[in-house]
């Protein structure tokens, strides 16, 4: 009998029930869309912030103390270098997955034909790597210097040109001084050899780099006979904003207790990633670039908090919206409830019937809404970040609990109010 009555209501009043289901679906989709976006926003914004370039630099241990101080005097760089052969190891550290991009640098002062010397930098532009793990990675300054504006020509691509091809890119200021444009050749003399490089592109970096020459790593190494040696590595990594533990660890990892050390080592703090890079690159010092690392942390935190608050607002909105409609639709059934009571139904039976009906509708609406909401999240992800939003299982129970709680909260007070009424009054139409 109970089932028959419910089926009857659903079939005969399908229009009203559809509307309730529709509203619940809207509320549920709002909740699931916002929760999905909120949980993913940190990763997405972190990716975007990579446009600021590297947040970790790696230099040789000896150089980090003395080399750059002596360079002030114009003296020759001291002899400490990092080994090019170890570069692949960066992708084998504990947080290898968080290393987005990196590039080695070697600096050489090369002489031009007119006798002036120019700082020539060797690096990766779009270097292809086969990692020991079987992964493949394209890394280099094409993405690490995303703010460079290519004024003429195009980005150098060693995958097309070859690893020690005679090509280079030069800065706008230098190009203007030399009167060169893309396609011309530039003759450079180093301490060991000389080469004629074809200018592939001219960039505007808005800084010191505008007076420099950038060429493939091996090409520049050959100029000064620095085969297999590099001066520094810039690493762009996804990191977690620093907290007290990370600051303490950055000063001296030895001061941590074993469990603190484990927590620190297994969290993607900039200092932990630096530590791990030092472990794999012989005689190196890795340090976070504060300008990038600290600012990233601040902006990530703010964005996340903003999204959390907007999500809370929309959750409250969705909850009150559903609650309201359920209350309205239960109140509407006053005469039906009055009639049921008049012919002898118990309060419990009446509430059970109404609640079951509403909950069934809520479940249907909730399921539809959840998937619709996930769709909305994908639209947001693709329009804003150009990548999809990860589906997080934790959203399902949150939305389910929200829908059920809100539906019950909306219907129970209304039902209780109606049950308190006297059937005769209700049927008479006094209310």
């Amino acid at each position: 009998m109970f089932l028959r009555m419910i089926r009857g209501t659903l079939l005969r009043q399908w229009k009203k029930m559809l509307m309730i289901a529709f509203t619940i679906a809207l509320g549920a989709s709002l909740a699931s869309a916002m929760l999905s976006v909120m949980l993913d926003v940190e990763d997405k914004v972190n990716q975007e912030l990579k446009t600021y370039g590297a947040n970790i630099t790696v230099v040789p241990k000896a150089a980090s103390v003395l080399n750059e101080l002596y360079e002030v005097e114009g003296g020759e760089a001291s002899g400490a270098y990092l080994a090019e052969g170890e570069l692949g190891k960066i992708k084998t550290i504990f947080w290898a997955f968080n290393i987005v991009d990196y590039a080695p640098f070697v600096n050489v002062n090369a002489a031009l034909d007119d006798g002036s010397t120019v700082k020539t930098v060797g690096s990766w532009f779009n270097h292809h790597m086969e990692l020991p793990t079987g992964e493949q990675l394209d890394a280099g300054i094409t993405s690490l210097r995303s703010w460079w504006e290519i004024v003429q020509g195009a980005w150098l691509d060693e995958q097309k040109e070859g690893d020690d091809a005679d090509v280079c890119m030069i800065g706008t200021a230098l190009a203007k001084k030399l009167g060169k444009s893309a396609g011309d050749t530039l003759h450079l003399t180093g301490s060991e050899s000389d080469r004629s490089l074809r200018i592939v592109g001219i960039y505007d970096a808005g800084g010191d780099e505008d007076d420099q020459i950038y060429a493939p790593l091996n090409t520049v190494q050959a100029l000064d006979g620095l085969d297999g040696k590099i001066d520094s590595i810039e690493v762009s990594a996804l990191t977690t904003p620093d907290n007290e533990l990370a600051e303490k660890a950055a000063k001296d990892p030895g001061s941590l207790t074993v469990s603190q050390y484990e927590t620190w080592y297994c969290t993607a703090y900039a200092s932990a990633i630096c530590w791990q890079i030092q472990e794999v690159i012989t005689d190196s010092v890795a340090s976070p670039v504060r300008q990038v690392a600290d600012s990233e942390g601040a902006i990530l935190e703010k964005t996340k908090l903003l999204m959390i608050l907007i999500t809370i607002l929309s959750l409250i909105g969705a909850a009150l919206g559903i609650c309201n409609l359920v209350t309205a639709s239960v109140m509407e059934r006053s005469s039906e409830i009055g009639l049921m009571k008049a012919i002898g139904a118990q309060n419990g039976a009446v509430s059970g019937l109404v609640l079951t009906e509403i909950c069934m509708t809520a479940v249907i609406g909730g399921v539809v809404g959840f998937f619709a909401g996930f769709g909305f999240a994908q639209i947001i992800g693709h329009t804003v970040f150009g990548s999809s939003i990860t589906m997080r299982p934790v959203v399902i129970p949150i939305v389910a609990i929200l829908v059920i709680l809100v539906t019950l909260a909306g219907s129970i007070p209304a039902i209780r109010m109606l049950l308190r009424l006297r059937p005769a009054e209700v049927l008479h139409g006094g209310r």
Binding site: M19, T51, T57, V292
Partner: protein, 384 residues
């Protein structure tokens, strides 16, 4: 006159008598309006507030001498072009080669407060120099000379104009300073020694010249370009430039963030408004009986529609007013918690919120009223 009085009385009476139901409807409109005004306020304030956060990346504009050198006076003059509210920090820098124990080091003279504001990411172990005779050293300098906070160092300076002869006979100028802090930035700043401009002038030559000035200016890339044009025109000694790395990246990230908030706002608003509409439809649909009764005693369709609409528009108005107030409070709370600054109040959001609430309630109630008036009153009253 009489007719209007009757109209008003019917509306208010209906609102008063059906209090609980009307409260439900009003609540739903108010929620919609709160979300509307709250999110729109946040959307318009996000670029400003977020832009301020991006200033933690440090200077986005630099002044370099148009000729060979310029003075602090020129820098201040150039900075005066920028509106005071937009100027987050300005730090003039003067670099000189000095010696510690005979080893050359670059000493930078600057305005410490300005540097702190323009480069908030500088991490100082100890304190920033505050008095004359105090300085801070870069982490790498500290490491190579084994310097500690609280220690003293002697800097010596050899003027570049001295001849070989003088170099042998005349003593270097020396001063002793107290180290108040060690600077850690992860960049080339760690190789310098920082002191105030007057201190550096005392040690070297007092000619008031500076080499470069770093400015942190809030505003988008377009605003910066405008300032640069004005500065270059107004102060001939100064060439202003943007720091491309900071401005270009800021534009990219900020555009994405704003697009994110915009899309979220649109999705939330659309869904909320539909929610409000369905609730209003449910509230009005419930009154089919009443409509039937009125028709049966001779009310015209037009008067019924007018009266119901009037009632709902009144609700829309009330809900809109409550909502725009609550929305502003919400946006204010968000701003204080997230950005720790208060939000700028935009007056136009209030009428827009009220109009949208009225429009949504009006449209949402019009449909069920229409369908109710079209039905034969006898059928409605019978309950079919």
């Amino acid at each position: 006159m009489k007719k209007r009085q009757m109209f008003l009385r019917m509306i208010t009476a209906s609102l008063m008598r059906r209090r609980s139901r009307m409260l439900v409807a009003l609540l739903s409109i108010a929620i919609g309006a709160t979300i509307l005004s709250g999110l729109v306020t946040i959307y318009y304030d996000v670029p400003r507030q977020m832009g301020a956060q991006f200033r933690s990346y440090g200077a986005n504009m630099i002044f370099v001498p148009a000729d060979t050198a310029f003075t602090e006076q020129d820098v201040r003059q150039g900075a005066a072009v920028i509106q005071a509210a937009d100027l987050v920090g300005i730090a003039p820098y003067r670099y000189e080669n000095v010696r510690i124990n005979g080893i050359p080091v670059v000493a930078a003279g600057t305005d410490m407060q300005g540097a702190q504001a323009a480069s908030p990411y500088w991490h100082v172990d100890g304190a920033w120099p505050a008095k004359d005779g105090e300085l801070m050293v870069g982490a790498k300098v500290a490491e190579s000379f084994r310097l500690k906070v609280g220690g003293e160092i002697e800097l010596s300076y050899t003027p570049e104009t001295r001849t070989q002869e003088e170099l042998k006979t005349v003593q270097d100028q020396t001063c002793t300073y107290q180290i108040t802090g060690i600077l850690d930035t992860g960049g080339s700043e760690e190789e310098y020694v920082y002191m105030s401009l007057p201190d550096l002038a005392k040690l070297t030559v007092d000619d008031g010249k500076v080499d470069v000035a770093e400015l942190s200016v809030s505003g988008g890339a377009e605003q910066l370009e405008k300032y640069i044009e004005q500065i270059n025109a107004a102060v001939p000694a100064v060439t202003a430039r943007t720091v491309k790395r900071v401005t270009a990246s800021e534009t990219t990230v900020l555009t994405k963030l704003q697009a994110l908030v915009l899309l979220v706002t649109i999705v939330v608003l659309a869904l909320t408004m539909i929610c409000v509409a369905t609730t209003m439809t449910a509230v009005v649909a419930e009154r089919r009986r009443e409509i039937g009764l009125r028709k049966a005693i001779g009310a015209s369709d037009k008067s019924i529609v007018g009266e119901f609409l009037g009632e709902n528009l009144l609700l829309g108005l009330l809900g809109g007013i409550i909502g725009s107030l609550l929305g502003f409070i919400f946006a204010q709370q968000v701003s204080i918690h997230v950005f720790s600054s208060s939000i700028s109040f935009r007056l136009w959001i209030v009428p827009v919120t009220i109009l949208v609430s009225i429009a949504v309630t009006g449209l949402a109630s019009l449909l069920p009223i229409r369908s109710a008036t079209e039905v034969d009153p006898a059928l409605v009253l019978k309950g079919e």
